[in-house]
Symmetry: C2
Subunit: 223 residues, 2 copies
DNA sequence: TTGACCGATGACCGGCGGTCATTTAACTCC
DNA sequence: GGAGTTAAATGACCGCCGGTCATCGGTCAA
């Protein structure tokens, strides 16, 4: 019986090597992600995360001191991955139009619903029950990624200054979290928005984000 | 002793008339608001809300079925009040410049931190544990206020169509919730952002919102 | 004055995040 | 390969909090 379980395990029962600990950490993050994708932050129980990896609840807390820390770590991963993806898109080509850039940004967020949903929780929920050190580590990483992206934006859109590029990134961040909340939807809200006269409150995330970024860029001087 | 308490009471010990019930409801909303202003949604306990009004915890649940319902009702009030305030500003004058309008909107949110903080929680937290009926009632009211504001916006900025006016409102909503999250800050985040090199992540809510709206309007055709 | 209604009460419950003494897998050394 | 050592994993346990409900008693009509 123990053998059957061990056969399924990628990581040894006891993770003693740093490499195994890292793998276990990943298992937990993957479990948290899967559960979050199916429900919501509030509905994901630490016991469920543990069960999904075949571990005991207490074990989860050996890897992450709090539930918020677990999800902030997950956001950290997703954010880094997304910036890499976006920077990959921005690396090619010469000068872009406003619409091209807006499409690229909005497109890079396609299929990243988990990331944007978590991003919308970052300041209001995740940074509530976390150590200063962890919050700082997270923000350091954001800073680095932002710097790279800012440089690439200026290469694609020559009329941008370092100042306006930074502004643009902040606006986009704000729009992404804001629009995700409007588009995203608790099940209850989804039901309400189905009603015909609620149409003005329905938001298509990608379309709306593309339009908003295009408009912003035009306002900043793009043609 | 009971007399001393009763002397403080605006509402009779037992609220039997509808008028008294409404007053008690207000007391609870005010208490929730005061506590939320001092801390955060997660830190406000229903027992505290009760204690602050001199009532028992169970009584709060006679007026609001869940914690989320209480705060959604509070948001409902604040939202209605803010729309009224904004519409008041927009009622005067003829044609405005982009910057004037941006100033008006951002200015109307000055001192409304409680409102914007709650707004940022609306979809991710408050609409989670609430009946469909309550969520719908809330959204109905948003729709009505939005309609009025849309009309006033078109009067102040003649280049706006009903379509672009609606777009603008959605963008502003997204920006407000997004920027509030970036500017607002859990205590932990506030400490981290104090570090000098974190400057690019610091956000001045009013300034940033004014700039963003101005930029958007320019992108929509304002001069 | 009295009886009935109904708002207020607070002890109670279930569930969840988080802890810690104990267990035991995994590695080391002889 | 057996004994000893380390520390990862365990799960019973705790405190807290949102939410419930049998009971109490204030209020008012008759």
């Amino acid at each position: 019986m123990a053998g059957a379980l061990a056969a399924k395990r990628v990581v040894p029962l006891r993770a003693r090597r740093d490499e195994d600990k890292e793998a276990r950490r990943r298992e937990l993050l993957d479990a948290a992600r899967a559960l979050f994708e199916a429900t919501s932050f509030a509905e994901v129980k630490m016991a469920d995360v543990a069960a999904r990896t075949g571990l005991a609840k207490g074990t989860v807390f050996l890897y992450f001191p709090t539930k918020e820390a677990l999800f902030l770590a997950l956001l950290d991963d997703l954010l880094t991955a997304w910036f890499a993806k976006l920077n990959g898109c921005l690396a090619e080509g010469g000068t872009w139009t406003a619409h091209q850039l807006a499409r690229a940004v909005a497109g890079s967020l396609e299929g990243e619903e988990t990331f944007t949903r978590l991003l919308a929780l970052a300041q209001t929920v995740l940074e509530q029950n976390v150590t200063v050190a962890q919050a700082q580590a997270f923000k350091e990483r954001v800073l680095v990624s932002m710097g790279t992206t800012s440089a690439l934006l200026q290469a694609r859109l020559p009329f941008l200054t370092p100042e306006t590029a930074g502004q643009l990134i902040r606006y986009v961040h704000a729009l992404v979290t804001g629009l995700r909340q409007m588009a995203d939807i608790a099940p209850v809200a989804r039901e309400v928005l189905t009603l015909p006269h609620m149409a003005p409150l329905r938001v298509d995330f990608t379309a709306e984000l593309t339009a908003a970024i295009t408009t912003l860029l035009r306002g900043l001087g793009a043609r």
